[in-house]
Each structure stands twice: as C-alpha cells, then as structure tokens.
C-alpha cells in the first residue's frame, strides 16, 4: 500500500472539524444562558472566553488539517475556495470574540453579540460548503420535497414551456404550432364569444367545421382553401385576413399549407412522417429553432458513457479519444502510433458500443487484428488505410452493419472484396485508391449500387 502522511492526516478533517463547531456553539449557548438568568453572582464571562479560546484553537487545527486534505486535489475549486476562506473568517472572528470577552480589546458590548451572531451564521455556511465538497452539491436536496426543489431550481417561474423544452419527436403540429398561430392572429374575432363569420378557431374541431361559407380547409388542394386564400390576398383587399394586426408570416402560411396537405390531423407530429421536405425543415429551424434535419446515427443510438478508467486506458494506449458532442456518448478514436499491438486492439473492446468513428490508418494493422474490430457494432466510419489488409480481413468485418464510410485505400484488397463490401447496407463512401480493385469493377459497382460512391484516383 502506498503511504501518504499528508493525506492520512488530512482525512481527519471531517472528524476534527466538529470540535470547533461544538465549542463555538457552546459559547453562544452560554452567552444566551448568561443573558437569561441575569444572576450577577454567576459571572459566565470567563467560561465563555475559555470556550471561545478553545474554539479558536480547534478551528485553527481544523484549518491546518483541512488544508492538508485539500492538497490531495480533486475538489471543486470554487466550492473549496469559499469553504476555506469562510473557515478562516470564522477562526478570525472567534479570535476577535475572545479578545473582546477577555477585554484585551475594549469595544461596545453589542459588538461582541454581532461577532457571535456572525460566527454562528458562517459556521453554518462553511459547514454546508464542506458537506457539498464531500458529498456533492445535490446531496442535501436530492430527496427534498418537490416544492423545495422548485424554489432552488427556480423552475416554478417557467410556466410556459417553450418549444425548445420539448423533444422534437414529441411536438404535435396542431397544438404546438398551428393553434398558437390561430390564437395570436385569428381568435380575437373567431372565438366562441365573437364567432365572426360563424367561425370558431379556438380548437381543432372549429377549424375543421368551418363557418358560414362552409369548410375553410382543403386537404387535396390547400392553396384553394378559404383559409390560405384569405391570408394570402393582397393587403388592400377587403377580404384579407387578419384585417387588423400582424399578417401571417411566410413561414406560418407554409406550415398551414403543409399541414393541410398532410391530412390536417390534430395528432400529426412532424416526426411521424417522411413528408418533411428540406423547405419545411428550413422553416421550422429558422422560425421555431426546431431541428428536424435527419439525425446522424451517433445521435440516434443511446449508449452509456464510457467510464473514466476506460478513457484513461485508451489514452494510455495511445488512442486519441474525442466525444461526439454533448448530445451523444459515442466516441471517435484515432490511433497515434506507427504500429499497433494485439493488446492495444483488445483495449478497444472496452468501448465496443461507444466507438463510432475509428481511425487506424498506417499502423501495421493485420487481418487477424481486424477481426477484433468486427465487435465494434456501432462503428459508422472506419479508416484502415495503408495497412497490410487483404480480402480475408474485409470478410471478417461483415458483421459491421452500420458502416457508412470505409477507407481501405493503399491496402492489398482486390475485386474479391467488392461483393462482400456491398453487404454493408449503410455504406455510402468507399475509398479504394491504390488497391487491387480495378476501375471496371468500380464502374460496375456504382451501376449496381448507386448509393455507394467509390473514390479512387481523382
């Protein structure tokens, strides 16, 4: 076992620290008692001073030992800063209190009470900070009733949930987008109480029923619907809607049109269908900050985060590790040496679900080693260029179903590999420059599998 006298002593801090707390609270209690009994014959001043004296000494000890503990590192630096300095402040205040009580410093009597009061408050503060350092900041409130949590998080102020708080998969077109448009631009006239033109636009039912002139929507030809017609007339036209206030924006009209075309169902979600075209994606992003761009694989697959030990092991074995952003636990790995060992390869399996991009270019990777790679099932991008890989190796990675980009440039593979490679259903880019694969074979491949673009000499 390793020995470290500093850490050993430091770990007594949580124990020692209760001594000054006890002494100082005791001093306050004695003072309270002295005020209450008002017995002139019983003078507690000496006792209080004595308690403060030991409180000062004990807190000094706690500070020294706490400082030793902090040398070990690993604490939140901000919390530690406050804990340390408020602790020091408590010690100084109790020393000051002792000086006052023993009349080494003569000041008004009320000063002592103020000092004592601050000692108590600051003990509470630094004690809480110390607890947060050891147990984590959420320790205290983790099991608190929700109303307390709400106060702490300030969540009770946010009654209106913005669209950004909802997962894009859960956004329903009518209640989340269409109804708010109607609410802000139409219902001041078309409500149940006003009902102009016999039209109620406060809910889906009213919108579908229409008004005096019949249905205002048209699922087959939305542009011919009364709704779209009235909001797109020239501004000067008497029938233009809304007659007062802001007109509907281009984006709003586009969404109305799109929604009608999609069936005008009240439960339709943007994520339900494949009908979101690039234009709609753009409008939703621009006007509502909703991201409906097709999600890449690494954002769709949910995997647990790799442990810090795994991260360390990978880095120690000369793998560069990048996370795929905050929204994903997937990782991207680049090997940094010129030659890779079997042991290093085996370390990759520690993160076999998380690795989605893997760069093992020019590291003397063998067919045998490539077999191990076949276990990394969430791999979407594999770069094994400039390695002594043959068709054998390519065969062994067929289990990798999600590969979208494969770089085998400058390897020994030949035309034999092409039929095997086409089994990777997700494959889009294939880098085959400086291999045995011939131009005619590539041409044939792109004819049969137009989705795969093979990149060779440019």
């Amino acid at each position: 076992m390793e020995e470290n006298i500093i850490v050993f002593l430091g770990r007594f801090h949580p124990l020692i620290v209760h001594l000054p707390i006890g002494f100082l609270i005791m001093a306050a209690l004695l003072q309270l008692y002295a005020l209450k009994i008002k017995n002139r014959s019983l003078n507690l001043d000496h006792t209080i001073a004595y308690t403060l004296f030991w409180g000062t000494l004990a807190s000094l000890g706690a500070i020294v030992i706490g400082w030793l503990l902090s040398l070990q590192g690993g604490y939140d630096s901000n919390l530690l800063f406050w804990h340390k300095w408020v602790g020091i402040l408590v010690t100084l205040l109790s020393l000051f209190g002792w000086l006052l009580k023993t009349e080494r410093i003569r000041l008004q009597k009320s000063v002592f009470f103020i000092v004592l009061f601050f000692i108590l408050v600051l003990i509470g503060v630094t004690g809480h900070l110390g607890g947060s350092l050891t147990h984590g900041e959420t320790y205290l409130t983790h099991y608190a009733p929700s109303f307390i949590k709400n106060i702490i998080d300030g969540k009770n102020e946010k009654k209106n949930i913005g669209l950004s708080d909802i997962d894009t998969d859960s956004i329903t077109v009518f209640p989340h987008i269409i109804q708010p448009i109607l609410d802000s631009k139409c219902v001041s006239c078309h409500s149940a109480s006003k009902k102009e033109g016999g039209l109620v636009l406060t809910n889906h039912k009213g919108l579908m029923e229409g008004g005096e002139h019949g249905s205002i929507i048209d699922i087959k030809t939305p542009l011919k619907s009364i709704l779209i017609n009235r909001v797109t007339l020239p501004l000067s036209n008497k029938k233009f809607m809304p007659p007062r206030g802001n007109s509907l924006t281009f984006g709003e009209i586009q969404i109305l049109e799109w929604w009608m075309k999609a069936g005008a169902d009240s439960l339709l979600k943007f994520s339900d269908s494949d009908v979101l075209d690039p234009k709609m994606i753009h409008i939703l992003d621009r006007d509502y900050q909703l991201d409906y761009r097709p999600k890449p694989f690494y954002e769709k697959v949910k995997v647990p985060k790799i442990t810090s030990e795994t991260l360390h092991t990978l880095q120690k074995n000369n793998f560069g590790v990048d996370f795929m952003g905050e929204a994903s636990n997937m990782i991207s790995i680049t090997f940094k040496e010129k030659s890779i060992s079997n042991e290093q390869i085996s370390k990759l399996l520690l993160a076999k679900n998380q690795i989605t991009w893997l760069n093992l270019s020019a590291c003397n990777l063998s067919d045998q080693q490539l077999k191990q790679i076949a276990n990394l099932k969430n791999l979407t991008r594999l770069n094994i260029n400039s390695n002594p890989i043959t068709d054998e190796g390519i065969k062994s990675i067929t289990p990798l179903k999600n590969i979208a980009s494969l770089n085998v440039y400058n390897t020994k593979i030949s035309n034999v590999s092409l039929p095997i490679l086409t089994k990777h259903k997700a494959l889009k880019s294939l880098y085959v420059w400086k291999t045995g694969i011939t131009t005619t074979a590539i041409d044939e491949l792109s004819k049969d599998y137009p989705k795969i673009s093979s990149i060779s000499e440019q």
Binding site: S77, N78, L79, F81, W82, W85, V86, V121, G124, V125, H128, L129, S132, E137, T141, I152, G154, H282, D285, P296, Y298, E299, G320, V321, D322, F323, M324, G325, E326, A327, S328, S332, T334, K336, R381, N383, N385, S405, N407, Y409, S429, Y431, W433, I455, S456, E457, Q458
Partner: protein, 477 residues
C-alpha cells in the same frame, strides 16, 4: 520592492470573488455557484459541444482581396453596361477607400474573362480557374461574404482574429487552445507563406496567440534548409547532449515555476520539448522527395520548387496526414488596383491547379471526410474600375460589401452556392454571411460553440467571434 506575485491567482481575482460573492454566498452554493462566478473558460480537449465533424482545417488565405467579379461572381450586366457610371441607387453613398474616393467617374467594369457553369451544381467559374472549376461539385461557394474593414491590415486581422485591432488570438490559436493536439511531435497550428511574393505585408501577429498561452501561436515552416528557424542543433552539439541540457534546464524551470507559478514558464517548457521532438519530425515532413511523380504532376510544375504555393499545398496535405489541426497558407499578391487582367492571370496560374490538386488528393485518401479546406481573401473588389478603363485593362478597388469564399470537405454540403449579390455585384441580396458568421460556422464544424469557448483576459471574457456571429446552418450537411 516586491516583484513576487502569483499570475495564476491574482489579488484582483481574490478581491473580486470575495466582495462580489460574499453577500450572495450562502445561497450561491445551493443555486449553482458556477454560473455566478465563473472561472476562466476551460479548454474542451476531447469534449466538444457538438460532434467534431471537422478535425483539421487547411485555410488557403488569398491575401490582398481576389476579385470575385473576375473569378466566381458572374455579372453579365457589368459587361453590358461596361464603361457606364455606377448608379448612386446601388452605391448608396457607401464609403470608398482614399484610393478611389476622389475619382470623378466610377465606370462599371465587366470582367474580360469568360465564365461558364460547371458540374452538376452549375456553379459559375471563370476561365482563369479551370482546375477549380473541374471540382466544383466538391465545393461550397459562399458568394455573400461581407466584412467590416475596408483596408488590408484591419481586414486580414478581422478575418483571422475576429477583431480589426491587432492583439487577439488567431483562429488557429483558438482551435489549438480549445481542442488540443492530436500529434505531440508537431505544432498544432502551422503556417506556410508563399516565398518571394510581393504585395500587402503579412505580420506574424496574424497567426499570433494574443492573450492565449504562447504554445498556441502558429509556427511558420519556411522553405529551404531551415524550415523552422533556430530549430536544429548548432554544429558539434549532439542530440544526447541537447537532451541532457534540456533535462537540466527543465529542473531549473520547474524550480522557478514552483516559486512564481507563472503559466508562461510551463508554456516555455512545453515549447522546448516540442522543439526537441520537432528536430526529427519537421525534416521528415518537409522532405517531399518520397512523393511519387504523379502526385507532383497533380500539384503542377511549381510543386517541386520549395516555397511556392504548390509546394505549400503539398506540404499541407502531408501535415494533415500527420494530424496537424490547423494549417494556414498565405498567398499574397491579389491586390489588383490596376492591371487586374494580367495580375489575375499570374495569380491564378500559381494557385488554381495546386488548390484543386490539394482537394482531390485529400479526397482520394479519404481525408476530406474530416478535413475542411477553405479558400478566400479578406474582402472583395469593386464593380467599377479604379483608374482608366480600357478594352484590355482595368483595376478594382477594395470592396467589403461582398466577396466570394469557397470551402470543401467535412461537414458541409457539396456542390452548392450559398448567398447571392445583386446584378451589379455590389450589394448582397440573399443570405449574407458576415466574417463572424463564417468563424462561428468554422468553430461549429470543429465541434465548438463559438459563444462558449472563451478566455478571460483583463477582466473580460473574449471569444473569437467577439459579440456576434451565427452559424450558417444552410451549408451544413
């Protein structure tokens, strides 16, 4: 006299924290204190905000302001109205440089070069850039770039650092600081400048680290015997004795650091170590003799002459292969106030083929999957002629209101044209992209939220995009 101070933890830090924080102290720890008193924006090594689609950048900086009107922004109307006055309805009193502000006439100048549409995207490229035209389906043209500066130095500084005033870190330095290194044997940020070019001067502060720790400044690799100045051991000093010397020096530095805790000492130590490793890694990179003949053919005849743009493009590819994060090339000489046709011919001859070759070479190696190549200058050029306009000759003044830049590679759409200018090629009419927007997009592609990568200096948190910048989502793939 007391010269001792602790730069890691200043008196100012202490006082700010205690005076500002003490009042709100008791609640602050409950209510997430980190938002209240933030410390220096920490680097994100390995933990980017977004997926790092781009892992390396090659920025081909065309210094001087290439004429977009003669290369990519095809304006037939200018040819039609050649020699007629620039209408005031277009210029709208916009400020001009002192070089043409006094001109009594502003004759519109159509390009004398022939334009054609290329590739599936139908991008317009002039006949001066045949090789680039040939790869137009790989490229994303932004025709609606605009900048705040009207003169070279502030404009280049703006493009490189996000501020017209000197002293801020260059993009490459931000990237190095924020994302760390992928190759411990080479600098993270390498600068290559075309040799023997005349034109607007370039200063090393353009690739400077500003207030960031100094190991993040760009390292210039020069052509010739000494690629990095003062890197090689002097005659008679062996690698072993250098190692021995460095070890002892490090011990001394560490002692000094223990007393002063000045982070610059650490920076210096890491740079000494880097220099030692570079003594072997740099000659390896610079020695292009092993490159096959067909690669030289691709980059063009200049590629065998060290220090040319072509040779630098080839070097850039070699650096990218070694995982250098940010490579900045500079090619001067695009400042064609007069004699534009001939000047442009010369510039294009030097740059067209190597630029296209670099992109193709990266593509065939699969490197375009995670490398971004950027081509562009600091501003555009005017649609009217500076000086006399003749059938074969004209010049163009600086024009900050629109210019063209193109990119190729990871994370962006291929074969698209983003943004548009009016028929006169003077104002932007569609999707303007400000320099800060471009920088924000670049950072986004590298996985960084440009608003969150900050560095506190002199009491203020600085970022590359200053106080603005929006990611251009339309060009992201």
């Amino acid at each position: 006299m007391c010269n001792h101070h602790n730069p890691n933890y200043t008196r100012r830090d202490f006082l700010t924290k205690t005076t500002l924080g003490l009042g709100a102290l008791s609640l602050s720890s409950l209510m997430n204190a980190s938002t209240l008193v933030d410390t220096k924006g920490a680097p994100l090594v390995g933990k980017t905000h977004f997926p790092p689609k781009v892992k390396r950048v090659i920025y081909l900086f065309q210094s001087g302001g290439p004429s977009q009107l003669d290369l990519f922004d095809h304006k037939p109307l200018l040819t039609k109205l050649n020699g007629q006055e620039l209408p005031e309805s277009i210029r709208k009193g916009q400020r001009l440089t002192g070089m043409t502000a006094g001109q009594s006439s502003f004759p519109l100048a159509g390009s004398i070069f022939q334009f054609k549409q290329h590739g599936k995207s139908g991008a317009w490229v002039s006949d001066r850039m045949p090789h680039v035209a040939g790869i137009s389906d790989e490229l994303c043209f932004i025709k609606s770039m605009h900048t705040d500066a009207i003169n070279h130095d502030p404009a280049v500084t703006f493009m490189q650092t996000g501020s017209q005033f000197s002293g801020r870190p260059s993009i490459g330095s931000w990237v190095s600081y924020g994302l760390g290194s992928d190759n411990e044997n080479l600098p993270n940020f390498v600068v290559l400048v075309t040799k023997n070019k005349r034109g607007q001067p370039l200063y090393s502060r353009l690739w400077g680290n500003g207030f960031l720790p100094s190991e993040h400044q760009g390292t210039q690799f020069r052509a010739g015997k000494d690629p990095v100045l003062f890197l090689q051991n002097p005659p008679g000093v062996t690698a072993e004795s250098r190692r021995n010397q460095l070890d002892h020096l490090n011990q001394l530095q560490q002692l000094q650091y223990d007393t002063l805790e000045d982070p610059e000492i650490k920076a210096r130590m890491s740079q000494y170590e880097m220099a030692f490793r570079m003594q072997t890694s740099v000659p390896e990179i610079m020695d292009t003799e092993g490159e096959p003949e067909h690669i030289y053919d691709m980059y063009g005849p200049d590629s065998k002459i060290p220090g040319t743009y072509a040779a630098n493009c080839l070097l850039a590819r070699r650096l990218v292969e070694k995982d250098v994060k940010f490579i900045q090339l500079y090619h001067q000489g695009w400042d064609h106030h007069g004699g534009l046709p001939n000047g442009l011919r010369e510039q294009c001859k030097e740059t067209d083929q190597p630029t296209a070759a670099l992109i193709k070479d990266l593509k065939q190696r699969g490197l375009l999957e995670d490398t971004l190549v950027i081509w562009g200058g600091e501003f555009g050029r005017t649609n009217y002629s500076q000086g006399a306009l003749s059938a074969t000759n004209y010049g163009r003044d600086h024009h900050p209101k629109c210019f063209t830049l193109f990119m190729a590679g990871a994370g962006i759409k291929k074969g698209i044209v983003h943004g548009a200018t009016d028929e006169f090629g003077y104002n932007i009419v569609e999707n303007p992209v400000h320099v800060h927007d471009f920088q924000a997009t670049l950072m986004h592609l590298m996985g960084v939220d440009h608003e969150r990568l900050t560095y506190k200096h002199q009491g203020r948190r600085f970022r590359l995009t200053d106080v603005s910048g929006h990611v251009v989502k339309d060009i992201l793939s």
